[in-house]
Amino acid sequence: MSPTAKKSANPLPMKERIKVPRQLMPEQAAEERAHNFSEVNLGYSPELAQQEALRCLECAKPTCTDSCPVGVKVKEFVERIVIGDFLGAAAKIREDNVLPAVTGRVCPQEDHCEGKCLLSKKVKPLGIGYLERFVADYEKRMGTHVVPNVPPTGKKVAVVGSGPSGLTVAGDLIQKGHKVRVFEALHELGGVLVYGIPEFRLPKQIIREQLDYMREMGVEFETDVVVGRTVTIDDLMGEEGYDAVYIGTGAGLPQFMNIPGEHFNGVYSANEFLTRINLMKAYKFPTYDEPMLDLHGKDVAVIGGGNTALDAIRSALRLGARKAYVIYRRSDAEMPARAEEVHHARQEGIDFQMLTAPVEFLSDGKGWLTAARCVRMELGEPDASGRRRPVPMQGSEFDLPLAVAVIAIGTSANPIVQSTTPGLGTNKRGYIQASEETQRTTRKGVFAGGDIVTGSATVILAMGAGRRAAKSIHEYLTTGEW
C-alpha cells in the first residue's frame, strides 16, 4: 500500500488519510482581533498536530521538499509528529531551516510545499506551515533545543544585515565552526521580521528567541552599523580580518507612484508606516516617543496588493481606522499577498477596492491629505510579468476621502553598499549581481543574497539564498578557490 519501502509509522491506510479533513487553525475571532495586535493564529494543539500529520501521503518523491527554497524534509518531520516525537521533528526541520517559528508563520506555503502537495490535487493540502509552526513552538516551550558543538575552523565571516537571509547564513555557518559576526544598521536585530512584519502575524518575542538561540550557538551581533557608512566592505575584508562577507541588506528605498500630492502630510510609504508601528512602537505614544498620525475614526487606504500592503492596512484597522481600504490596480487573482492573509483581512472587514488605482492625492490646501482621486481599471493583454495589464477605464474617476494613504508598491535598490564597494557589480536596476547557484558576487570573498539581489521577494526566498550562500561560503573557506 505505502508508496515508501520502509514501513510507515503512520497507522492510517492511504485511502483513509485523504478522508481526514485538514485541521483548522484555531484563531482569534475576527471582530476581536481587529482591535488588538495579538497574534491572529493561535497554533495547533498536540492533538490537532498529530491528527493533521496523519494526512501526509509520504510520497516517494516528495515534491514538498523539492519546492522548498531551503529544502525542509517535510515527510520526515511530519512522520515524527505522527509518533509524538515533536522534538525530533523540530531537530529534523532545523537541519535545513534555522528559523522554523518564523517560516511556519509567514512563508507563502501555497507557492511552495503546500502548493505542490499531492493531496491538493483532490482535497486541501497538508498543513505543512501549521505543523512547522507547531513543532517550533513546542520546542521553544520545552526549552530543550540542542546547541551544536563544532570545532572552530579559525575563519571569520561578516554578515551584513540581520534579516531572514543574513540570519540563515549566520546559523548555517556557525554550525560549520566558522566565527560569524552579524552587522545591523538599526538598533534592533531581525531586519524586516522586526520593522516590517507586525506583531499580529509574527510576535517579536519569536524573533528574540531565535536570536537568543543563535547567540547561544556563538553568533555575534553588532547593531548601529550601517555597512557602507560606518564601516565599508573593504574595511571588513581588510583591517577587520574577515575571510568572507555576505551582503543581505534587504529591500531598499520605498517606491512612490510619482503622482501629484505624494508629499502631502498623511501620505506614508509602507516601510515608514510599518517602521513607526513595529520598530518604534509609535502606537504606544506617548509611552514611546516616536509619533504617528492618530488613526482613530480616520479613513485609511493602502495602495498595493502584497503582504506589506496587507500588513499596513490591517495595522491601521487595529489602530482605530474607521474605513480601511486596499486599493489594488489588478484583480484578486494577481494579488501577490499570501492567501491566508487575504482571507484574514477580508474576515476583519478590510474593504478591497480591486482594479483601482490612484492618479492624484488631494489636500485641504494646507498640505494635509483629504482624498485620493482614483480610476477604475480593466485587464488587458498580459504584460512582461505575464499578468494581464491593467488599463484605465475612460470616465471612471472618483474621489475616495482619506486622511492617510500608505503606498506599498515595492522598493528599489538601496545604493549604500554598492556605491562604497569598488568592483562590486550591479545590474541595471542597481541590485547586486550574484550567481543564482553560489550567491558569489563579482568581488572575491563577497557573497550576496535576498532582496538586495532579487528585488522585493519573500522571507523564505531570502532564506533560500542564505542557505546557498552559506554552502558556497563554506566551500570557499575550505578550499580557498574562487
Binding site: 544598521a185 557608512r229 564601516v231 508629499h263 510609504s269 516601510n271 517602521t275 516616536e290 504617528m292 498640505g367
Partner: protein, 304 residues
Amino acid sequence: MAGGHVFKIIHAEFLAPGVKRFVIEAPRIARKQRPGQFVILRIYEEGERIPVTIENSDPERGTVNIVVQSAGKTTQLLNSLNTGDHILDVVGPLGKPSEIANYGTVVVVGGGVGTAMAYPTAAALKRAGNRVISIVGARNKELVILESEMRAVSDALMITTDDGSYADKGFVTDKLRQLIENGTRIDLVVAVGPIVMMKAIAEMTRKENIHTVVSLNPIMIDGTGMCGGCRVLIDGKSEFACVDGPEFDAHKVDFAVLVQRNSMYRDAEQRSLAEYQRCRTEAATRELEHAGAALPAGRQGEQR
C-alpha cells in the same frame, strides 16, 4: 546598543543657552565621519530616533562631537545628560559627505545651531584651497556659537545678531547681499540653518546665478533609505535626504514642502514635550520637598 559596546559621553558643555556639545565615544563613526554628515541617535529604550549634527570628530581618540539644540522632548532630555552618561544608540556617519573641491571663493553661512553643521564643511573647503568667507548669524549674542572655530578656518568671518546685541545687527542675508553688491566673486554658497534662512539665501543667489548648497533637516527615522520618511521635493521629484542628501542644490529645493512635512507631528511633539516638562517639574518639586528648605532657590534652573 551596538553589540555590547556603549556610547559614552566623555565630555559635555553648553555652547550657548539650550545648545550643548557632547564628545561621545564612537570609534567607528569617528574614523569615517566626513563634513556634511550626521548621526541618528536614540537615548533610551522607548526613545525616538533623531538626526543630530556632527560638529567634529577625532579618529585617534575615537570620539565624535555632536551639537544639540533643545527643542522637543528628546533634545531636552539629551541636553540634560552629562559627562559619564551614556546614549543607547548612535549610528552613522549618515548622508553623503559635502562635495569638497577647490571652487575658488566660497561663502559659508551658518544660522544658529546650523553653524555646527557648517563648521566642518568650512574647514574642509579651506583645506582644499578655497578662499572661505563665513557668515554666522544668531538671534542674540548668547546664541552665537563656534565663533573662534569658524574664525580659524575662514579668510573672513562676519557675524550678525537679530537684535544687535553682538557684532552687526541684522541677518546673514544682509551680509551676503553686501558681498554680492560689492562685486565679490562668489563661486559657491553653502548655507546651513533654519529653513527660512536657507530659503532666503536660495532666492538671493538664484537671481545672481551663484551655485548654492543647503543642508536639509527633514523628519527621519532609520537614516539608511529604508523608510522614505525624509523625502524632500527636489526639482519636482521625491529624493531621500538620508541617502541622496542631506545637501541639495538650493535652487531645486521645494522649501514650502519641507516646512509642511516638518509640521506633520507638531501636535504630538507638543504633547510629548508638555508631559516631559510636567514630569520634570513634579520630580523637581518632590526633590525640593525631600531636601526641605536647605536647597537654594535657583535649583530648578541649574540644568543650564
